[in-house]
Symmetry: C2
Subunit: 336 residues, 2 copies
């Protein structure tokens, strides 16, 4: 169960608020495109440029909403679809394949102002699962809808549907082939701890709007070669996503089972609320102590109501970026 | 969103440990059979006797395991099936109907010693979903499996399967009829906040074993007339179920959406860990302040590693019981 994981440094900073009056909090948006084994040696300059451009596009899409006075929920719901639509990430188009070479998607969203939340799990035809999660939050009395039921609900509300093949990419098909080849050479996948690279690419966003409200959202295809209707942390409120105006907004990425067991997103919020920790301290402890000690890998983006952002992860990389109140974009990929 | 809910008194006590050496903690088992609108005026003496007998049978089944030196996980996994098999409760046989007059079951289990956890959601053919949740915890690297995938996994491990009609009862069919009649007379179910009685009957157990380990388990049929693959809090680790030897074991029952949004089970654990609150204080605050303030109804059973049990709820009743180290059973139903 327990295995050693390198502990890396914490990225944390406050985004300048000079573009706004000193009374209002700065609007801030932070996103991730997944944590995992992401190393310079395996990345071409062209590929890296693609990732950087996709992250910047997502940041600008969410920021445009905040600039126009939109809510934090509006902003995260605007930042996620460009990443779902980009084949680079493990969400929407380009999501990883299940053991049966299809795509099953999970997503969730939470409004820190009301603690309302919505999630979908195991959907196969909704082009942008995050929009379905938002519909569940805003147009149903429920928090979580699953499978074909969730699809029927989204259809009733006119959400765009696609064939499952829309999500398929050759790159992910090759990954599935490699994983299944490894599986055949071992005693069986279910005896094997899935490797971090099987899960890289979950996307997420956290936002702070001009009214001081927070929101978080996460979308994923889960784990390559997943089977048996496996659901990870991304659609689980408290594990992959949490937002509470009194503490922080969190979106997680990594080996989902560990994030569920530790209730990672809620735990960061709880440490801030009950211990009075800063978002940096809380996120750092939960990722670098609790997650790492249990043997889990991954990271989070966490944002408090003052605009402070923490992005700790214990893998070699995490696609991530922020945009400040003046529209300045920062995008990073590697640990160092 | 916010509505007033009566705040009721907290049941809390330490179970005597006289049957054991003073060095070891007392073995303790507590169970619930659901919180909701449960009033003396609506209960016949015969019906009440049936509930009391079923709760006592479940307590004795779990306690027998603890007496033989079994683990807390063994104990909760032994206490839940008798309640799943009894048609009285909204779990297994006798679970509530979906909008399509079928039964979809959810369950989860967590081991406080290891933070391992397992859950199944939306299963329709597994006779005892809590045993499937345990299989997921112990025989897979995953935490949550859903739908037909979860059933396939359970089948591979030889778990007993039944036709969906095995779960059906006339009583629950009548409840569905009433709910759907009400729905037709209104503008639409999804605009309506489901009522507490639609959800009464979830079952749960928490146990403390002779080695001082805690475990929690929850099993449910969810909400009458549920649709769109709705999943409540019962299979969600941190919402309906949580266990950590350092704090407590919790199983929840009630209006699941609120329990997810507040991460009720994990929040009780977090308050104990970070605020140093007792299990009584933490459970009381989370149910009577946080859940009630948000407009949610329900309750929890919570047990700490010293054998202290708290059973707060803000509804008119909660089927509940405990068994102490000497085998003395206490069963209660109503608030007063």
């Amino acid at each position: 169960m327990f295995r050693s994981v390198l502990c890396f440094t914490l990225l944390t900073f406050a985004v300048p608020s000079s573009a706004q009056s000193s009374d209002s909090p700065p609007v801030v948006l932070a996103i991730h495109g997944g944590a995992g084994t992401i190393e310079r040696g395996n990345m071409t300059p062209e590929r890296e440029a693609e990732y950087r451009a996709a992250l910047e596009a997502a940041l600008r899409a969410g920021f445009a909403v905040l600039q126009e006075g939109g809510s934090a929920v509006d902003a995260v719901a605007a930042a996620i679809p460009p990443m779902e639509d980009a084949p680079l990430f493990n969400a929407g188009k380009g999501a990883v394949f299940t053991s049966e070479a299809s795509v099953e998607l999970d997503a969730s969203i939470m409004d820190g102002a009301t603690l309302n939340a919505g999630a979908v799990a195991g959907v196969t035809t909704i082009k942008n699962p995050i929009l379905a999660a938002r519909l569940v939050m805003e147009q149903s009395p429920h928090v979580m809808l699953t499978g074909s039921g969730a699809e029927a609900f989204a259809r009733q509300h006119g959400l765009e549907e696609v064939e499952n093949t829309y999500f398929h990419t050759d790159r992910r098909r090759e990954t599935l082939r490699r994983v299944q080849e490894r599986e055949r050479s071992e005693s069986g996948f279910l005896q094997t701890d899935p490797e971090a690279w099987q899960m890289t690419g979950t996307v997420g966003a956290v936002a702070l709007d001009q009214n001081g409200h927070l929101a978080a959202a996460t979308s994923t295809g889960g784990m390559t070669n997943k089977r048996f209707g496996r659901v990870g942390d991304s659609p689980i409120i408290a594990a992959g996503t949490y937002a509470d105006d009194r503490t922080c907004a969190v979106s997680a990425t990594g080996h989902g089972e560990y994030f569920i067991r530790l209730a990672i997103a809620h735990d960061i919020s709880a440490r801030m609320m009950y211990l009075g920790e800063s978002v940096e301290a809380a996120a750092h402890t939960v990722i670098h102590d609790k997650l790492t000690d249990l043997g889990g890998t991954g990271g989070v983006i966490a944002l408090d109501a003052e605009g402070n952002v923490a992005m700790p992860f214990n893998t070699s990389g995490m696609y991530r970026g922020t945009i400040d109140a003046e529209g300045n974009v920062t995008v990073d990929i590697y640990r160092d």
